[in-house]
């Protein structure tokens, strides 16, 4: 199963992902309608991407009174069925991270749907901070990098 993997240390804060997301979903460019959001911490120049993590035991699914939200076991995506959604916004309150949200018109719930299997945000992320990868590979890169760090320490100790 593929997941959207975020490597915070690689994000350069360019926000192309926000543009790509809103354009892919709505055909217009508006970061406020993007399902992914970059928070900037300019004092330290750290940029943190955040989007729906497709929780296994999702609060948004639990609070949804109409069953508009449901977990697709095959793809792992928490899906939103607009035919059932009544716009009560309970899910936006329930999500601990603010990753299921309202669009700027405050009329529509929006959330990450992996663009149906090929996330647009990943395509424009030249820094590779965002990757759509098999779950087994998701953390290997990071583990490898931290292993290099320990290798250096070990070498110094010899």
């Amino acid at each position: 199963m593929k997941i959207l993997y975020v490597d915070v240390s690689k994000c350069t804060g360019c926000r192309a992902c926000e543009y790509a997301c809103s354009f892919a979903h709505d055909g217009l460019f508006n970061p406020l309608n993007s399902r992914i959001h970059i928070s900037e911490f300019l004092d330290d120049f750290v940029f943190v991407p955040a989007m729906c993590t497709q929780c296994e035991d999702a609060y948004c699914v639990k609070v949804c009174p109409t069953g508009a939200l449901s977990k697709n076991e095959e793809t792992g995506v928490v899906e939103l069925d607009y035919n059932k959604c009544i716009g009560c916004k309970q899910c936006t309150i329930a999500c601990p991270w603010g990753n299921i949200k309202l669009d700027v018109e405050a009329k529509r719930i929006i959330k990450c749907d992996y663009c149906g299997g090929g996330p647009e945000c990943v395509k424009v992320c030249h820094a590779s901070a965002l990757q759509f990868v098999e779950v087994e590979d998701a953390v290997l890169d990071k583990q490898h990098r931290s292993a290099i760090y320990y290798k250096d320490i070990a070498q110094q100790g010899v």
Partner: protein, 604 residues
């Protein structure tokens, strides 16, 4: 009817009368002059007398976005500041990255025109189309980073911000305009024009969606361009790893890195201040402007020595050169520190470094007495460099005030204007016009004074296949690049993209976004039109052929060492060739036929 790319509105703020108004953009002008730099220059030509004093109430400032801004077109978030420049009175278009431009656009405006002068320091808050002129007394004297921080607290934590530092407030002629606290429209002293209007800062936040004319075509053009950028050695790899400073060793390697205020074009200790050394000793991470896949921005820290613990952004290649090689300084930590100080004060690092280099030169020649400075100001002295930048930023002493006026006024004051390595009073950037011939023609003819980003001939002459040692073909190269850059700047895309993409790709992005059908040759024609209206502005401001020249030293003093040893510059033939190619007369004035061809015959 505008189909996409533009929001379609211009915001006008008159600070003298506290008046705010909104108007629609002129669609014909949008098609003819694109947006950003082009459209705004057309507006300025219409609205001010080019002869006015740049620091007078009559001058106007236009902050302009381009039609590709606030989209995922690569590196498209540039914002331009167009005004009559403080440093030399020529047409100024100073250009910056960051996120302010796209935020201004989403707040509802393609252009922001600032007129008049506020009684007391003010800042603007533009939120979802609405504008407030607010008291800025709490921001006075604050450096650029602090101003950005306070501004975000006063308005919105995710606002795009603009600010000037103490240098702009004190009308330093080399003051820059800073965006988001760390991105600069560096050149031509635009910061002083803001200072003269008592406008300390602007914050903008919007919620508008930006549409494009043809969605599928646009997406295709964007992914094509992004693909080419990621495959290119510089934009895909080198810039992210080493930033623009990757050029230090490259340019020095061909003997084109000016050092010791232009006495030489080779710096024997360049390795110590190279991009590679910066990456090893100072780099924390790369940072990208709006929608930019290149991410040349440097986040750095100083890890040793007397400035240990300081953090900031940069330095760029140009800053490393100006504060390093030009001053003969090989201490990278001091160069980085001097760069941080320039950023904090809001000073153009190129002009600031080159002015210190000029001062060191004058000092060593015995023209500046030690009492004027207060300390020894010799080439290679890292401490003196940092102290001089502090004098320049604070302007507490007479000498500091002189430094803040740039190298030309400084050298003129001490009776030797020929010591200023400048064209139209603006300091050279980091390429030697004796060693790299085309860039000399570009410096001389650039309409905002010596400048590398109006037509970056280096891409062909050093990184490409053209012979840097000859003037042959350079008139054509310079003209083509100047026209292309004028058009490209106006779309809102960053010049750096041209390492990988060119007129074909950019004109396609423009056409897909706006619906203005435009192939490569039509795109270049628009660029030529923009270049000519800038020239018209300058002619009306009093500039002419005599101003299109390099300083004497470049013609008379051969390069002392390195691969380009012995070379001098001589523009006499190539300048005529350039004028002829441009369709200008021998005085550099556009001919009637040329202006008719471009459809702007009524402007001169």
């Amino acid at each position: 009817m505008l189909k996409g790319g533009y929001v379609g509105r211009i915001l006008r703020v008159n600070l003298s009368e506290n008046k705010i108004s909104v108007e629609d953009i002129n669609e014909k002008w949008a098609e003819d002059f694109i947006g950003g730099r082009g459209y705004a220059t057309r507006m300025l030509l219409d609205e001010i007398d080019p002869k006015i004093d740049p620091l007078s109430e009559e001058n106007k400032i236009i902050i302009a976005t381009g039609p590709l801004g606030s989209t995922y077109a690569p590196s498209s978030g540039r914002v331009m500041v167009i005004t009559k420049g403080a440093l030399n009175g020529a047409i100024a278009c100073s250009n910056s990255g960051g996120h302010f431009g796209p935020e201004l656009k989403r707040a509802g405006y393609d252009f922001l025109v600032i007129e008049g002068k506020a009684e007391k320091p003010v800042y603007l808050w533009i939120y979802k189309g609405k504008v407030e002129i607010r008291d800025a007394s709490m921001l006075v004297g604050k450096n650029t980073k602090e101003t950005d921080k306070i501004l975000k607290r006063l308005t919105h934590p995710e606002a795009g911000t603009f600010q000037i530092g103490p240098a702009g407030e004190k009308l330093s002629l080399i003051a820059n305009a800073t965006f988001d606290g760390h991105r600069m429209a560096g050149r031509t002293g635009v910061g002083a024009v803001f200072g003269s209007k008592n406008l300390k800062a602007i914050a903008a936040k919007g919620n508008l969606s930006i549409a494009v004319a043809d969605r599928e075509r646009f997406a295709k053009a964007v992914y094509n361009a992004r693909d080419m950028l990621s495959k290119d050695a510089f934009t895909g790899k080198g810039a992210a790893k080493y930033g623009t400073a990757v050029l230090v060793n490259v340019i020095n390697g061909v003997g084109g890195l000016p050092s010791y205020n232009g006495h030489d074009a080779y710096f024997e200790r360049a390795e110590k201040i190279s991009g590679e050394t910066l990456a090893k000793d100072n780099l924390v991470r790369a940072e990208g402007c709006d929608s930019c896949p290149i991410a040349c921005g440097r986040v750095t820290e100083i890890r040793k020595g007397k400035y240990k613990g300081k953090k900031g952004v940069g330095p760029e290649y140009e800053s490393i050169w100006a504060l390093g090689a030009a001053c003969g300084v090989d201490d990278l930590d001091a160069v980085v520190m001097a760069g941080y100080l320039c950023d904090d004060y809001g000073l153009d690092t190129i002009s600031a470094g080159a002015t210190v280099a000029c001062a060191m030169d004058l000092y060593e020649a015995g023209y500046i007495p030690k009492d004027d400075v207060g300390f020894e100001l010799r080439f290679g002295d890292a401490d003196a460099l940092v102290k001089a930048i502090e004098l320049m930023g604070k302007q507490e002493t007479e000498f500091g005030k002189l430094l803040a006026k740039g190298s030309y006024r400084l050298a003129e004051y001490y009776g030797h204007p020929e010591f200023s390595m400048s064209v139209k009073k603006q300091e050279f950037p980091a390429y030697d016009p004796r060693a790299i011939k085309g860039i000399g023609l570009e410096y001389a003819t650039s309409n905002r004074g010596a400048c590398h980003v109006r037509g970056y001939t280096i891409a062909a002459e050093v990184l490409g296949k053209m012979d840097k040692n000859t003037y042959e073909g350079k008139a054509k190269l310079t003209k083509t690049l100047q026209d292309l850059t004028a058009a490209l700047d106006s779309t809102g895309i960053c010049l750096f993209t041209t390492f990988a993409i060119a007129g074909k790709e950019i004109s396609e992005l423009f056409a897909a976004a706006t619906g203005f059908e435009c192939d490569e040759s039509e795109f270049l024609k628009k660029g030529e039109r923009i270049w000519n209206i800038e020239r018209i502005f300058n002619i009306k401001a009093g500039f002419g052929r005599d101003d299109d020249r390099l300083p004497e030293r470049m013609e008379k003093e051969p390069i002392k060492s390195g691969p380009s040893k012995g070379m001098v510059a001589d523009l006499s033939g190539v300048l005529d060739e350039y004028y002829e190619l441009r369709g200008w007369d021998k005085n550099g004035v556009p001919t009637k036929e040329k202006l008719q061809e471009l459809g702007i015959e009524d402007l001169l």
